[in-house]
């Protein structure tokens, strides 16, 4: 009897609650959470942390399913999102290859300004890393000297031609006037592993990708490409301090396909803003050297993307698309 009663009560509760819910849009099926990079890298770690937080905080009635699409330096993911135009159940965690890949691959037919901006979660940073076994390399000067002596035998690992680390590598080649061999791997985590295993000589990884190896004493940072020294790396000089004018950041924003409905956009924007303001996310930002000061969304984020796109076009023109693709 009590079972029937509770059933009736819950049915009543549902009937009362239903009209209120109907006004707000909510996902009706699992949401595809696309990551335009491989497993174990910075974007992947962030997306998986966010996915878990969404579940933990019960922010969505349907699960977010992370899917890695690292092919062609993010081209696969960009194309996928473009083809999903008008879909309300797909969002993507992006990196700077969001700008660079469509510039380098003109025939991809992707215009990122058409995508639906949702929210900027963080600005990530880069450091130059070598294996701790390299006792001969202690600072930027000894690094440049060693690389020049090695020439093309010097192997720099990265996540793909056109990815932000390849842009940064090309910027360094231009600044120091040397040529290196750039080897693409499917994700930042794999790059880190290959550095620790001495399969490559150096890399520009994000802090999150090297943090555990750094703490274990397997790899060491030489220089950081930020305006000021990060709290997580107080003893590592910035490039600017050493008189090298390279400052480069990576945006980590969430975007939807072109033509996502306004209701769905509002839902995802609110969801990611709540995540952004959570203690868990802010703690992660501090420990992993991410800058998470303000949550950019809507028109602001669209403007930001447009400015970044132009800046990257200039940058690529400066260092030459060939320097990046290694042709």
């Amino acid at each position: 009897m009590s079972f029937v009663k509770s059933l009736a009560v819950s049915a009543l509760a549902l009937a009362v609650a239903a009209p209120a819910v109907a006004q707000d849009w909510a996902p009706r099926k699992p949401v595809e959470f696309i990551i335009m990079a491989g497993t174990g890298g910075g974007a992947d770690q962030i997306a998986r942390l966010l996915q878990g937080l969404i579940e933990k905080k019960g922010l969505s009635s349907r699960p977010f399913i992370p899917i890695n699409k690292p092919g062609g330096s993010g081209a696969e993911a960009l194309r996928y999102l473009q083809d999903k135009a008008g879909d309300d159940h797909t969002v993507m965690m992006t990196l700077n290859s969001f700008y660079t890949t469509p510039i380098i691959q003109e025939d991809l037919g992707v215009d990122i300004t058409a995508f639906t901006p949702i929210g900027l979660m963080a600005m990530d940073t880069f450091l130059l890393w070598v294996n701790t076994d390299r006792e001969d390399i202690t600072d930027l000067d000894s690094y440049v000297e060693t690389v020049k002596a090695a020439g093309l035998d010097w192997k720099v690992g990265g996540t793909g031609s056109g990815q932000e680390d390849s842009v940064l590598t090309a910027m360094m080649e231009a600044a120091f006037d040397y040529d290196v061999t750039y080897i693409p791997f499917p994700g930042g985590g794999t790059v880190a592993k290959n550095l620790v295993g001495n399969q490559i000589d150096s890399t520009v990884n994000n802090p999150a990708e090297q943090m555990e190896f750094y703490r274990a004493g397997n790899s060491k940072p030489l220089v950081q490409f930020t305006g000021e020294r990060m709290a997580a790396f107080p003893d590592v000089p910035t490039a600017k301090e050493l008189g090298v004018d390279i400052e480069y950041y990576m945006q980590r924003s969430v975007n939807g396909p072109p033509g996502m409905s306004a209701e769905a956009t509002a839902f995802y924007t609110n969801l990611f803003e709540e995540l952004f303001n959570s203690q868990e996310w802010q703690d992660y930002c501090t420990s992993d050297g991410l800058t998470c000061d303000n949550f950019m969304k809507g028109a602001d984020l669209a403007n930001f993307h447009a400015t970044q796109k132009v800046a990257h076009e200039k940058l690529i023109e400066q260092v030459g698309a060939k320097a990046i693709t290694g042709e």
Partner: protein, 504 residues
């Protein structure tokens, strides 16, 4: 060594705590059902069930996810054997002999071999994991692109004999698979390639599942329809206690293949690049090569079921190693486990063993228990799974067809892939009719991208010098083994022919 046993003891104690034990059982059961549904797969299963884990402490949560992963590995074999559709890439090799066995009325034997081989594979693997995790993690770091490519060569070499005697047809089949694997974006430059008729849908490439479901699901169905004219009567096996004991005795027939699969699977699984699928395929290939009766493989040899099943379970345990020590997940499922760990504030990496010993040893302890739980569940449920085969063919065929279409659409979410699957199904049927082996094509589409990436990375780093593969010791060893394996069947055939001539 002593500290290991103390830690392991602590881990086992943890696994036997009521909550953890319950999570192990729940995880195994959920995994079993997720794994045996083609298209659902362990990735979605783990993702959907992730919220469950927020209700319990982190150790119990990761134990649940690991048990689910385990269960799904066992479950994959069930649809491979009873329906002939591999639910996941790891279970492809199980179809080769599992399906013919089911058609011959020996499904219970195949299921039992799969369960026992999986148990042995998982247990061997977890023991190796317990004893040698740190040195193995160091060894995995020695694997650069050159070593990965050499390992892929070895994997292809183990399969050269798979297509039977017709070597040109086998090579054609491998090449067909490689061509399909190449469709999509170039791995290095990121440019689109082989986009036939400028169909943008092809940019995403042809997935393994599309090919495997097409060839094994649809192709096999058409073939059975033609060869039996629909008059097929699936054999319904009565499971009796006597038959169970008789099946249990058969273990000694496939025990060698099981050991082989267990050790090989663990080793291949610990390498971040490879994972359970190449391990299972290599194990199958090697079992066949070294079998006294290689011709019976593919026609229902019980060792052909045991070898890949032992290997895929061993490899799934092995792939926990790079995840825990290097933070690199060996498979999409372990990637979700990794996500779970990050939320609980556990950062996988070289320090995890020393900083969170309770967590790591709790996980290891639970893997022992999960293995025992899954094998018992599996053996108990064999009569239930067998019921599938009791269905009349006229009912089973449409169900298989629907499962194939659903399975592809559920994983890729595009009708385009479903059509490709159907076309490949017809192609697979034609290939069978013309006596082309289909397994090498499936192998090529799985291993092709891995081999291509490592080959090109190696050549970039050596600036085009191919000797890079033979100047590095591990790589050289793999290349030599691959050459020996390729020539082994040829030598064997020559020797046999000579003895035959002498006998005349």
């Amino acid at each position: 060594m002593e500290t290991i046993f103390v830690s392991l003891g602590g881990g086992l104690m943890q696994a036997f705590e009521p909550l953890n034990l319950f999570m192990i059982l729940a995880g195994c059961l959920a995994g079993l059902f997720v794994g045996c549904m083609p298209g659902l797969g362990s990735v979605n299963g783990v993702a959907i069930l992730l919220p469950v884990t927020f209700l319990v402490p982190p150790t119990a949560a990761i134990i649940f996810l690991a048990a689910l992963y385990y269960g799904a590995m066992y479950g994959g074999a069930i649809s491979s054997i009873t329906l002939g559709i591999p639910g996941a890439s790891t279970a492809v090799a199980t179809v080769f002999d599992g399906r013919p066995m089911a058609q011959a009325g020996k499904a219970d034997k195949a299921l039992m071999a799969a369960a026992i081989a999986s148990f042995i594979g998982g247990t061997v693997s977890i023991i190796l994991f317990t004893l040698f995790a740190p040195p193995l993690a160091a060894f995995a770091l020695k694997f650069g692109p050159q070593e990965e490519f050499a390992l892929m060569l070895l994997a292809f070499a183990t399969f050269i004999g798979l297509g039977g005697d017709d070597i040109p047809k086998t090579i054609f089949s491998i090449l067909l698979g490689l061509v399909m694997a190449a469709i999509g974006f170039d791995i290095i430059s990121g440019q689109p390639r082989m986009i036939f008729f400028d169909m943008v849908e092809l940019q995403r490439g042809i997935g393994f599942l599309v090919l495997a479901i097409g060839i094994y699901g649809i192709g096999e169905m058409l073939w059975t329809l033609e060869s039996t004219k629909g008059q097929v009567q699936m054999h319904n096996v009565k499971i009796t206690w006597a038959r169970f004991k008789e099946n249990l005795k058969e273990v000694k027939v496939y025990i060698n293949s099981t050991w082989l699969g267990s050790f090989l699977g663990f080793f291949v699984g610990t390498l971040p690049a490879a994972g359970a699928t190449p391990a299972a395929l290599m194990s199958y290939g090697l079992s066949k090569t070294f079998s006294k009766d290689p011709d019976s493989f593919g026609k229902g040899n019980i060792s052909g079921v045991a070898a890949p099943e032992a290997a895929n379970n061993a490899a799934s345990t092995g792939s926990m190693l790079p995840m825990i020590t290097l933070g690199i997940p060996g498979s999409p499922t372990t990637a979700i486990l990794l996500g779970g760990m990050i939320i609980w504030g556990l950062r996988p990496g070289p320090l995890l063993f020393t900083e969170s010993p309770d967590f790591v040893w709790g996980l290891i302890g639970s893997m022992y228990v999960a293995n025992v739980a899954t094998v018992l569940l599996n053996l108990a449920l064999i009569p239930v799974f067998i019921r599938v085969l009791a269905m009349p063919f006229t009912l089973l065929t449409p169900i298989i067809f629907i499962l194939c279409v659903l399975g592809v659409f559920a994983t890729t979410d595009r009708m385009f892939d479903t059509w490709i699957m159907l076309i490949l199904g017809v192609a697979g049927y034609l290939m069978r009719k013309l006596n082309y082996p289909v397994a090498p094509a499936v192998l090529a589409i799985v291993l092709g991208p891995l081999a291509e990436r490592s080959l090109r990375q190696s050549l970039i780093s050596s600036q085009g010098d191919v000797t890079t593969f033979i100047t590095r010791p591990i790589s050289l060893t793999c290349v030599i083994l691959a050459l020996l394996l390729v020539s082994y069947p040829l030598i064997q055939r020559l020797v046999r022919r000579r003895t035959a001539v002498q006998a005349d």
